[in-house]
Amino acid sequence: MGHGPAVKLGKDNAAAYKSKIGISMFIVYTLTYFGFVVINAAYPALMEKVYFGQTLAVLYGFFLIIFALVLAVIYNHFCTAAETRLN
């Protein structure tokens, strides 16, 4: 059977920790995303309301894209620190 990584990987003692924070952040982002979906589906008129010169739909859309990058950078920071500490 041809399984196993294409390159030899060392043991990763930080894997459990990274998995734990990954799941936590996944839950946070998923709730934010489905909040967006539910408002669009159930209260579409709310998305036309204007805040800071933009519709809520545009603001929420930008927020989801920027929030994704912010969470990703934070996640990487914690993972890298854990790898340095535990491996």
């Binding site: 294409a6 990954g22 996944f26 036309e48 933009q54």
Partner: protein, 642 residues
């Protein structure tokens, strides 16, 4: 619309093709092992891999389809961008590192890493092929769409060019050449799209989209009509099809002046009617098409996309001048933009498609509801929308051609970092799509019969050089994505089916040879599919690919990683149920009923997106079968502890 070919565009395209072919032949000399062919030796730098992820992911659907949808349906088109980007969070937080740890060459490797199960090998390989083919079709169709304005050749020629070039790329150096093609394409796409958006902002918004005084926009007319003795009368025009005709019943009339027939939208006025100029395409019984009553070459059919009114601080203005990104959206929100509705009128053996003006407030365009039915929607409409957004969210981390990129980097940390680079690059590009789409909507460049060309035609409004660059880049976009899909498919055939499932025990060189032959066969199939699916909406099929991937692959991946009781039988059954239920629901959906030439309301199911049913069905199957087969199947150790 009639396009004029640009020698510069052709030159740039030929240069890019020769460049990637040269690169492929150069890398082929260094790609002799299976690891080199299927995983680029596993030593690609994480930044390169991240941009290659973007090059792989930002397909014709993203570049052409989404921009076209935003250009005609506003915010609803941008929701695809948001959903696609959100899916990368599933990949980053749950899938990236375990996928790198468990797999070798293909997505099936990771699924089967704990079992060595023939049923998983077979089901996962079939799933890979089905998802890749669904994704492949719109890319190949996109190639055909692009070739007409770029090279002035018919659809099938574009499909053949892409098919042959990509097959050479993949058959020479596999994942190594594919990676660099995707890297260059991803980087160029980001740079060039940023330039176009900067130019859109510099031009600003105006009520006369004359493309910087370079091209006159057709001035759509309004007429006054009176009714005398039950008959419509319009000064200077002969009424060809009046109030009692099929056109009249649909809310339109057909007039003639100087031998040219035009269609007008009827609107009741204080006295008589106001007639608003429309566009129309008539398809005759023999398949001949007339555009605004004349052959396409006569140029009587106009590009559309204009603002009716711009209001700033309560005053109407004609032009905003240069604006910043937020001010652009702010001014757009306070404008009234002319969108276009569509109606069909059948007279005898001919069918007329009428495109009529729909002035719409900008604030209404920058909220959901123009494409998706969410206002006063039934429960079924809302279900359909939520199901689509669920498919977009869950699909990314289950696309085999994306997952195999995790095998090209040297470590789990590199897999994670490359995903973050991908999120940054793709997120930035998706922000640009909003401006590209709204730019096309307001700059008079939309071909209303095919909105897929909106982004390249927006570039054309800034000059032929930018059009040449963007068009050849759009073609390169197809090359990058299709090469990734063919690598994934070739891996499924040669590595999963031939080597693992059939146990052919090939040598390292044999595996490379099998991969190359598989790539050539799949390339030929891709060409065939691209030709027979001509005319299909590009993004539409990608939505299906996401639904099938999310249903067949993601439950299996996540349950193996996070549920210790998953068994081989449960995983294989889950893939089978996810695959068949999503495919089955798609095949009996209203959209497919239209493709069959039937009425959509007669379809057995009333929704188009199956994910909200097929994903739970797949998970439930995995849980039930795994619990039933606990004693027979091997328990899976928590992958996180592996």
């Amino acid at each position: 619309m009639v396009y004029t070919q640009s020698p510069l565009a052709i030159g740039l395209f030929v240069f890019f093709v020769l460049f990637v072919l040269g690169l492929s032949f150069f890398l082929a000399r260094r790609t002799t092992s299976a690891s080199g062919y299927y995983a680029a030796g596993g030593n690609i730098h994480w930044f390169t891999n991240g941009i290659a992820f973007a090059g792989d992911y930002l397909s014709a659907a993203s570049f052409l389809g989404i921009c076209g949808m935003i250009a005609t349906a506003g915010f609803d088109g941008w929701m695809y961008s948001i959903g696609y980007l959100a899916g990368w969070m599933v990949a980053l937080f749950l899938v990236a590192e375990p996928m790198k740890r468990l797999g070798k060459y293909t997505f099936t490797d990771a699924l089967d890493s704990k079992f060595n199960s023939k049923s998983i090998q077979l089901m996962a390989a079939i799933s890979t092929l089905v998802v890749s083919v669904f994704y492949l079709i719109p890319q190949m169709v996109g190639a055909g769409v692009l070739v007409q304005p770029l090279l002035g050749m018919p659809h099938w020629v574009g499909v053949c060019i892409v098919g042959v070039v990509v097959t050479i790329i993949v058959a020479t150096a596999g994942m190594a050449s594919t990676t660099y093609v995707q890297f260059f394409k991803g980087a160029l796409l980001l740079i060039c799209s940023t330039i176009v958006v900067a130019l859109v902002l510099f031009r600003g918004l105006g009520t006369d989209p004359n493309q910087g005084d370079t091209k006159e926009y057709h001035q759509f007319q309004n007429l006054q009509a009176e009714v005398a003795n039950g008959h419509l009368q319009v000064a200077g025009y002969e009424v060809v099809a009046g109030l009692d005709s099929e056109f009249g019943k649909a809310g339109f009339v057909k007039l003639a002046q100087d031998g040219l027939e035009t269609v007008w939208h009827l609107k009741e006025a204080a006295t008589g009617y106001e007639l608003v100029e429309a566009l129309y395409v008539t398809e005759m019984a023999d398949g001949t098409k007339l555009f605004n009553g004349a052959p396409k070459e006569d140029g009587k059919f106009f590009a559309v996309g204009h603002i009716k009114e711009i209001t700033v601080n309560g005053e109407e203005i004609a032009q905003t001048g240069a604006v910043g990104p937020l001010e652009f959206l702010n001014r757009f929100k306070d404008s009234t933009v002319v969108l276009w509705g569509k109606k069909y009128v059948k007279v005898g053996d001919s069918t007329t498609t009428i495109y009529y003006q729909k002035p719409t407030p900008g604030s209404r365009i920058l909220r959901p509801g123009l494409k998706f039915k969410v206002d006063n929607a039934s429960g079924l409409d809302k279900f359909n929308f939520i199901s689509l957004m669920l498919a977009l969210f869950c699909g990314t981390a289950a696309l085999p051609h994306i997952l195999i990129r995790y095998y090209t980097v040297p470590s789990q940390a590199a897999a994670r970092k490359s995903t973050i680079v991908a999120i940054a690059a793709i997120g930035f590009f998706y922000i640009l799509t909003l401006y590209l789409g709204l730019g096309a909507m307001t700059n008079g460049v939309i071909n209303i019969t095919d909105n897929n060309m909106s982004a390249p035609l927006l570039a054309l409004s800034f000059g032929v050089v930018l059009f040449a660059v963007i068009s050849s880049l759009a073609f390169a976009t197809v090359l990058g994505t299709v090469s990734g899909l063919i690598v994934a498919s070739a891996g499924a055939v040669a590595h999963d089916l031939m080597d693992n499932f059939l146990g052919m025990n090939m040598t390292d060189k044999g595996k490379v040879r099998a991969g190359k032959i598989s790539a050539m066969v799949i390339g030929a199939i891709a060409i065939y599919l691209g030709i027979i699916f001509e005319g299909m909406n590009v993004s539409f099929l990608v939505g299906w690919a996401f639904a099938v991937a999310a249903s067949a692959n993601l439950p299996a991946i996540l349950m193996i990683l996070f549920w210790k009781k998953a068994t081989a039988q449960g995983v294989a059954a889950s893939i089978l149920v996810g695959l068949t239920s999503s495919l089955g629901l798609i095949l009996v959906s209203p959209d497919m009923w239209v493709r069959y030439g039937l009425l959509p309301q007669d379809a057995p199911v009333a929704f188009n997106s199956p994910a909200a049913i097929s994903i739970p069905a797949s998970i439930l199957t995995l849980v039930i079968i795994s619990l039933i087969t606990q004693k027979k199947g091997a328990l899976v150790e928590d992958a996180a502890e592996a």
